[in-house]
Amino acid sequence: MALDKPYLDVPGTTIFDAEQSRKGYWLNQFCMSLMKAENRERFKKDERAYLDEWAMTEEQKQAVLARDLNWCIRLGGNIYFLAKIGATDGKSFQQMAGSMTGMTEEEYRNMMVAGGRSADGNRVVGEDGDAQAHRQPQGEH
């Protein structure tokens, strides 16, 4: 019998379950390596060469080089691991999270200051909230 995965219909959300974790093992382990200052330096010096030291797929490497966190997450990345890439780039968590919404940094920050994104319309796929696929990309720019 298949496992119960009631979280598959939450819009704009990927739950990091065993399947995602298996897919993203090397991508996430590469991210962990950036917790050492010397590895951050080596990565910054030659990103491609550093990535080639890891058993990641070519697409995972491309997603990292593009700093496309949504793409990384589709390929098994988890945000707590991917945050090490952002930290290496000198980005805050807010800049990282905002980068996945299609909004500019300012639009995202303003949304948070105004109370954040509403849950209304964003609980289940098929509603009309701003995180639904047909409302993408977000932002007014």
Partner: protein, 288 residues
């Protein structure tokens, strides 16, 4: 005999640590957040515990995908602040309490909870930000946290994470373990992380004030109801990282009323939006 006298609940947002470390606490954006902890800082001075049992989650710091313990108890003598990619936070190292930690590990495992015992780990913002919020800034070299800390890490990164009910029951087992420790010491139990937030994907930035406040109400007055909230409700209502709230139920389950004793007294309740991507929640409950 050791006893749990109080529980503390707080979010542990990394940006709060950065704001403290970079001296931004008086900026208009941060002022309301830190104002919410002024009471707690004074309360800590007036009610100094002998040990803090601190429930938090590791954010892919001590535990990579190589090893993912659901519940891990730190039994080491000390823990260094971790380098999460920005360099380590400039805060004092955390002194552990190996004797009580080992006693709790033995007792809780005998009550059928399978804990992972950790004798070496660095601690990330999940643990150090709550200490900073409740104890104020500390010199990383000359300073020290007010008492030993037992770190207790819960997996809320890879699914499935433990249920709220299991966390609540685990809190009961921890309270029993503490009560069977012979030394006469005063223990606080802290549940950290959480309130609504989502850090990933096009739904990033989700905040649900109604859910958060209902959770705070339930946690104070009807913890059994809070323990019954399902994973999918946390995800839909409070965001994918709002699931961290299950950790608050460990602290709540360790309060006297969960074992048939008197209801605790709420001496502080605070809620604010936003801090970076999240809502900030904070409670202090005292056993009567």
């Amino acid at each position: 005999m050791a006893r749990i006298t109080a529980s503390v609940y707080t979010s542990h947002v990394p940006a709060i640590g950065a704001a403290l470390d970079l001296g931004k606490t008086h900026e208009p954006y941060w002022q309301p957040v830190f104002k919410g902890y002024e009471f707690g800082q004074q309360w800590m001075k007036d009610h100094k515990p002998d040990v803090i049992f601190l429930v938090f989650n590791d954010h892919a710091t001590a535990f990579s995908l190589d090893m993912i313990p659901t519940f891990a108890i730190g039994t080491a003598a000390e823990y260094q602040p971790a380098d999460e990619g920005w360099g380590p936070r400039p805060v004092p190292k955390v002194i552990g309490h190996p004797e009580l930690a080992s006693h709790i590990a033995q007792s809780v495992i005998q009550q059928d909870f399978d804990l992972t015992i950790v004798n070496k780990m660095d601690v990330d913002h999940g643990l150090t930000v709550p200490l900073s919020l409740m104890c104020g800034p500390q010199d990383p070299v000359k300073g020290a946290w007010p008492c030993p800390v037992i770190p207790f890490a819960v997996n809320v990164v890879q699914y499935p994470v433990p249920s709220g009910q299991r966390c609540y029951n685990l809190g009961k087992a921890i309270a029993k373990a503490v009560a069977s420790y012979d030394e006469d010491i005063n223990v606080h139990i802290w549940g950290t992380g959480g309130m609504s937030h989502q850090l990933q994907g096009p739904r990033a930035g989700l905040i649900n004030k109604d859910f958060d406040n209902a959770f705070l109400d339930k946690l104070i007055h009807d913890p059994e109801a809070a323990a019954n909230i399902s994973h999918i409700d946390y995800v839909r209502e409070a965001g994918s990282e709002g699931i961290e709230l299950v950790m608050w139920l460990i602290a709540r389950g360790a309060m006297a009323d969960a074992a048939g004793g008197p209801r605790p007294k709420a001496v502080q309740r605070f809620y604010h939006v936003p801090a970076s991507n999240t809502a900030v929640g904070h409670l202090i409950l005292e056993n009567q």
